[in-house]
Amino acid sequence: MEHHHEEPIEDLEIKSWRRKLIWSWVLTIPIVIVMLIQRFFDMIIPELYSMIGILVFAFFVVFVFGWGTIKSGLRGLFTFYFNMDSLIALGTVIAYVTGIIAFSGVIADYSGVAAMIMAFFTTGKYVEAKARGRASTEIRKLLELGAKRATVIRKGQEVEVDVSELQVGDVFVVRPGEKIPTDGVVVKGESSVDEGMVTGESLPVDKLKGNSVIGATINQDGILYVQATKIGKDTFLAHIINLVEEAQGTKVPIQKLADKITSVFVPVILGIAILTFANWWIFTQDIGRALGVGIAVLVIACPCALGLATPTALMVGSGMGAKRGILIRKGEAIQTMKEVKIVAFDKTGTITKGMPEVTDVFANGVKEDYLMEVAASVEKLSEHPLSRAIVSYQGGRGLKAVKKFKIIRGKGVEGVIGRKIVVIGNRALMKERRINVGVLEAKIRGFEEEGKTAMIAAENKKILGLIAVADAVKEDSIEALQRLRAQGYRTVMITGDNERTARAIAKQVGIDEVIAEVLPEDKSKKVEELQKSGMVAFVGDGINDAPALKQSNVGIAMGTGTDIAIEAGDIVLVKGSLVGVVSAINLSKATFSKIKQNLFWAFAYNVVAIPLAVAGVLHPVIAEIAMALSSITVVTNANLLRRKKI
């Protein structure tokens, strides 16, 4: 990630509007005073002088300080890339020109009004730019989160370098209170690290040798020596930033209508303004009045509010999410979320911790040590979490050489030790290999009813024993499920585990339905079946569950540690907590209802304001104030989303 040390673009924009605003009013206020004096005391200033004075002052307001708007607006008119400046530019230029023609005495002089329109427009833009800046506060904080300097150990010496100079493999020191410069692995020291800014986790996380740390998180109390594993664009923070920025560009479907209207808005309003002017001229024979009404129509129409409605709310919503470790990847998910009726969960790693541990060992006529040695030897070659549980329980004691190792997906493993064929796995595997479980069946059931997974180990078709493994439920899973049920969602667990174990876990956390013994590749099919009865949000860990996440209407991918499967979900939870699912649902709903409110307001404003202007009820300056207020209202309303508790 590059660091821009100069001022952010937003601040420059606000500053430039403020400068224009101040100068516009410095020149416009005297115009207003002169116009008032003229109206009430016609005699004090000779009309010719005041006309020239107003023209000169207004020239500076419209064509010097308003030049950016005039240029971009008129250019838009000529190139057919109409923009939101086009109407204001045309309105003010026409109003100004009347001041010149007025010397011939045929029409009313609107040049002072031109200055006032531009001054109010500039004021509106300034307030709007500030409000927009507030809308992106959280995201800007995220951008500025990265550390600037790192203390690297080179040839035994500590050297301070810029973060951009770090290389993968460098070892750096992080003292208490310092930011960890980039992603890495602790090689020496221990400490606790505050990862809240990246994961939303409020409690500090303990870090020991071998643990991964995330760049931009803050070291709390010990000294850590960390070896860099990822730098620059590959870091966790860079990924998050990229994801959030990309999401801003995605469209929320409801915005499409607004976009369509905006794209034809300017030419349509131009047409309406011309017709209005012509009508008023013909029917009143008063060209001055007709011009005033025409200008009011030009400046009151506000495509800006329509255009700002969705992006500002999306910005505030995704910023709020990012702060809590909820990354909204697709704007569409926000809209779909409110239709979701069913929330389906993967079990391992989603509801449970995903770190199974051996709880019981039952040896069937052999020594327990022998059973575990054989089991661990074979399981050592597998990466499956259940396998790892057995291997870590055994701790490397008495491991034997294994030949012809094979993984039987969703069922177990197999290998040859010496001359004996070893098979470890579930009932289905035993049945397939014609191994009789017999009297042990009752024992297996017992384990399963406790929510444990029983693995059967057999050697040359004789059962050596059972190994029960349990994966503890995450502390907050129960709370999350309770809240989901209270909100009326149907909850379903989809797992490859056997029916009884799955039911026991489901009961523990409070899930309505269980679909068990599902092979990994069939999970997405099960989601598809659920979709027949309503929209489904699927919550999974993103690594094995990618197809199911894609199949579901809203895929919520759980982050695990520093590896998040970014491509898989519509929403990514950085912290692997189910409470995040509830927050993500609430945040999506709140953001979407804010978008709807904004769009409604923007539509309603135009629907009411344009006819009023056409009817000639509104003075052009009042019209301009209304227009500026409508944009400001939309952006301010988006900022109010923050008040919502999620």
């Binding site: 971009s72 890339y81 920025e245 560009g249 794209s263």
Partner: protein, 72 residues
């Protein structure tokens, strides 16, 4: 392939839409999305597009400037 653009000069939502429209006209660009809020744009391209073409498309839509171009 995706390319990420940082664009200066957008001041209202129609700016983003106009730039999108103009970017989509470049042959080889499959999709474009521009956000005035983040000043960022993303284009989905079939083949690599020279920086000059992107700059041209951006300034065709108005007074905007490409300040950064990253390939992903």
């Amino acid at each position: 392939m995706k390319m990420k653009l940082t664009i200066q000069g957008m001041h209202c939502a129609s700016c983003g839409n106009n730039i999108e429209r103009s970017l989509k006209k470049i042959p080889g660009v499959k999709d474009a999305s521009v956000s005035m809020m983040t000043k960022k744009g993303f284009i989905e391209v079939e083949k690599e597009i020279p920086r000059g073409e992107i700059e041209k498309a951006i300034s065709r839509a108005g007074n905007y400037k490409l300040i950064e171009l990253e390939k992903e």
